[in-house]
């Protein structure tokens, strides 16, 4: 009797993609698998040798290289390799070496190919094109979002408070006081030992008032006589919207939430109002209504709640980025109004600029303030600057209190250097663009993302046009910008609890902004400047760049997917920090990432690295645009 090895079967069952296989296919793979041990440091696969097996790491660790000898990936238990060669010309494409003493499972080519052709999830998983895999991930997420609207279960904050319907009205009132609730579910057990007594009614503050006190009945009245027996309830998976309609239709303020016939909580009208108040529109409306910096600073919890709510509702990075940017703008606008109320009207016209992520509408919850002032050309420093200095101080100090940290690089309107008349701004941009040095552009990078927040908005548009006109076709400037855009690179991937750098070194964690979203935004900005785009948002810029046809086929959508995925990892990570009561930040610890996130992040990093190579090639100094 020929049999499968149980150890192999059990291992495959636990690790994707084999874990996704139907039982019968899984057993077939297990029965066909062979084994080999490799000592640390020995070559497992050499480039060009016949590809006979699909390899799965049973124990130990393996390094995968490119043909050029640079590191491509590091794999541990459950990792797999060799699919590339099997799917192409049956020759090994990526050489492999044992990083630790390693035991490998070898799945014969014929078995692998059959799975690839017959099991769709398997093929999707091992599909070697990193970029198309990320496309699936991002589009699956995009497809899911409209369906994932909030359910009432999100509103249930505390466990249900229940009392036996045989109690008196006084006992019920006392029970409600003890638990600090405005309603009580009343139950009646079918038998004394009944574990799941039936809910027979609800009594609320209002019932105690109108049906007991106002009617002059004694506290000994059975609560069952003043309760509402005809229970209106909602199911835990109904939409918040439906719960609201139900309250309006039945004129009730309390709705028991049921799951499997049992109450899981009670939601009230105020729960719904509170929930809706975390909608970004409400938050913005509230910001604009506040009358002091103290009141504005007190909005911070609402802003955070709005952010976590959008993440929970599966909004995409663009929706969240614009909502948070609009909120940031509203703070600035309201602070300016408060400042003008205190300081009097401005002596000359001005425009407050948002720079960096706010201008790109890509803000998250962790952000510092980057701003500047454009002043009217009749601005006279001796006469007017004291006013604008105080105005800027008011706004920047106010922003700091509202959760927007001071810019460490000093790019704030409080800095005299960044309060100038329009004409000087134009001259300043001309200088940066016409006489570029890597250092001057490094310092001024942030000014190439600018948007007006308040005041004379056309001036910001004028500056953008000015920049777009000068930058396009200026090879030396673009080369300098491109060079700077290559300074920050993505890591290679993840290995156990470490981040793997492209030289194989291991580090503890990464700053996902510095190593992911920022270099992507930098890269997209260079292309956008090269094609004369005046768009601010990275996705909009990317669309302009794609339309201009300067990227190789398919690379634009890849960049879109990479940016979306990395941005969402960053955003989800910050939302998780907030939910856990931690200070949100940009650093990601590999152990906090799921296998799926690790894999997709690696794909996204790969796209970034390839795009940087293309950028370097395209904007070489001296190369004609």
């Amino acid at each position: 009797m020929q049999i499968e090895q149980l150890e192999i079967l059990d291992f495959l069952r636990l690790h994707p993609p084999c874990s996704e296989l139907p039982e019968e296919a899984l057993r077939r793979v297990a029965a066909a698998t062979d084994v080999r041990y490799f000592k640390a440091g020995t070559q497992i696969l050499a480039f060009g040798q016949a590809a006979e097996f699909w390899h799965i790491v049973r124990s130990g660790a393996v390094e995968i290289f490119r043909r050029s000898g640079t590191l491509y990936n590091q794999l541990t238990e459950g990792g797999h390799f060799g699919e590339f060669g099997l799917l192409r010309n049956k020759r090994v494409r990526f050489p492999a070496k044992a990083l630790e003493d390693t035991l490998l499972y070898l799945v014969p080519e014929a078995v692998f190919t059959e799975l690839f052709e017959t099991v769709e999830q398997f093929a999707e998983w091992v599909e070697v094109e990193d970029r198309s895999r990320l496309r699936q991930v991002v589009s699956r997420h995009e497809g899911a979002s409209p369906l994932m609207t909030a359910t009432v279960a999100n509103l249930v904050g505390r466990p249900t408070v229940v009392l036996d319907a045989g109690a008196s009205a006084t006992e019920a009132a006392r029970h409600m006081c003890e638990h600090g609730v405005s309603s009580l579910l009343l139950t009646r057990a079918a038998t004394p030992a009944d574990e799941r007594p039936k809910v027979v009614g609800i009594v609320t503050d209002r019932d105690l008032r109108s049906r007991l006190l106002a009617s002059g009945r004694p506290g000994s009245t059975p609560v069952s006589e003043i309760m509402s027996g005809n229970l209106i309830s909602v199911q835990h998976n109904q939409l918040v919207f439906e719960a609201m309609l139900s309250m309006l239709r039945h004129h009730v303020q309390h709705l028991p939430v049921m799951r499997g016939g049992q109450p899981v909580g009670v939601i009230t009208q105020s729960d719904i109002i509170h929930y809706e108040s975390r909608n970004s529109l409400f938050v913005v409306g509230n910001i604009l209504r506040q009358t002091s910096v103290d009141d504005l600073a007190a909005m911070l919890p609402d802003v955070r709640a709005c952010f976590t709510r959008m993440v929970a509702e599966d909004a995409n990075s663009r929706m969240i980025g614009s909502a948070m940017s609009v909120i940031g703008r509203s703070f600035k606008q309201r602070l300016l109004e408060l400042a003008e109320a205190e300081l009097g009207p401005p002596p000359v016209g001005y425009c407050l600029l948002a720079l960096g992520s706010m201008a790109r509408q890509e803000q998250t919850i962790v952000t510092d303030q980057d701003n500047a002032l454009i002043l009217a050309d009749d601005f006279d420093p001796r006469l007017h600057d004291a006013y604008f200095e105080r105005l800027a101080r008011f706004v920047c100090d106010g922003l700091a209190r509202c959760g927007y940290e001071y810019c460490k690089g000093g790019v704030m309107a409080t800095n005299r250097q960044w309060r100038r008349p329009l004409r000087q701004w134009e001259a300043c941009f001309s200088e940066w663009i016409e006489r570029p040095t890597p250092q001057s552009l490094l310092d001024s990078n942030i000014f190439f993302d600018l948007d007006s927040v308040a005041g004379t908005g056309e001036w910001a548009a004028t500056l953008r046009e000015h920049v777009a006109g000068k930058a396009k076709g200026n090879a030396q400037f673009l080369a300098c910008m491109a060079r700077n855009a290559l300074l920050r690179t993505a890591p290679l991937g993840f290995f156990k609890e470490f981040v793997v750098e492209s030289d194989g070194q291991h580090t503890k964690g990464i700053n996902i902004k510095r190593r992911g979203t920022a270099p992507l935004a930098d890269l997209i900005r260079v292309h956008a400047l090269a094609v004369g785009s005046t768009a601010r948002n990275s996705f909009d810029r990317l669309n302009d760049v794609i339309d201009a046809g300067i990227l190789p086929q398919g690379r634009g959508p890849d960049l879109h997917d990479a940016l979306e995925f990395i941005a969402m990892v960053r955003i989800r990570h910050q939302a998780a920090d907030l939910a856990a009561g931690r200070e949100a930040d940009n650093s990601i610890e590999p152990e906090a990432l799921s296998d799926f996130e690790r894999r997709s992040l690696r794909d996204a990093f790969q796209i970034l690295a390839n795009a940087q190579k293309f950028l370097k090639y395209r904007y070489q100094p001296g190369r004609a645009g």
Partner: protein, 249 residues
């Protein structure tokens, strides 16, 4: 397979250089004496010469599960075998035979190797499997962990069924491990401090090579575990060109 009695003490024949056993000649003689046709064919198929480099030797890792530890009165209930060489362990060609013992299956061994009365009752007697077994073993060098027990049980079982014993070369991963650990044996001082020589149990040997923990006392898993251990030992401590004669018994 369990081999408690042999684990603690060292075996005299593992010490130092020894004379290489000339298995091809032994096979010629045994072949000419064998009466059972299957056994005669087995010897007639021959065996590699002792100077064959290990990397060219076809091997088969085996494990026996038995009703107890005494080959004279306990019986084999399960045999697993899988072919291997230094390049690949052919787990996909794993074979397992469940055997009906002539003695009673006791409760303790049932819990150990998970073979039930029902399975055994439906199983054939080893006699019916002799030819099949011999075909799997033929031209292969057998690899085991603790050769004494496996050898004694097979000899005994064959003698009882076909009236003559079976002999063949064996590579013993336990003996290899004993040789390796003896080279790194703690000095007198360490021994006086109470340091004990390292354990030679299969799972403990495997752990030293970073090999995963498998469920013990399951013939197919144990045979696989033993095959992996041999590849690891060769990769770490022996040259792939080592003549097989230096390792077989």
């Amino acid at each position: 397979m369990l081999h408690l009695g042999l684990i603690a003490g060292e075996r005299s024949d593992d010490r130092g250089p020894r004379e290489v056993i000339d298995w091809p000649t032994k096979f010629d003689i045994l072949g000419s004496q064998a009466r059972h046709p299957g056994l005669a064919a087995f010897y007639g198929a021959g065996v590699v010469s002792p100077d064959t480099p290990l990397t060219e030797v076809p091997m088969v890792a085996i494990d026996l599960e038995t009703t107890g530890l005494d080959p004279e009165c306990d019986e084999i209930v399960s045999i697993a075998a899988l072919p291997l060489d230094l390049q690949r362990i052919r787990a996909s060609e794993t074979r397992q035979w469940i055997v009906k013992p002539r003695a009673e299956l006791n409760e303790q061994s049932i819990t150990l190797h998970g073979i039930t009365h029902a399975q055994v009752t439906d199983a054939p007697d080893l006699l019916a499997l002799v030819d099949d077994l011999l075909r799997v073993f033929a031209r292969h060098v057998v690899v085991v962990h603790c050769r004494e027990v496996e050898r004694a049980f097979l000899r005994c079982a064959f003698r009882q069924r076909i009236g003559e014993p079976i002999e063949f070369p064996m590579i013993d991963t336990m003996a290899i491990e004993a040789g390796i650990t003896r080279r790194r044996k703690p000095g007198l001082l360490a021994r006086l401090r109470g340091q004990r020589p390292p354990s030679l149990r299969l799972a403990d040997c495997r752990a030293r090579y970073g090999l995963p923990r498998y469920r013990p006392h399951q013939a197919t898993s144990d045979a696989l575990a033993c095959a992996e251990l041999l590849q690891a030992q060769v990769a770490q401590h022996l040259a792939a060109e080592t003549p097989v004669g230096a390792l077989w018994w």
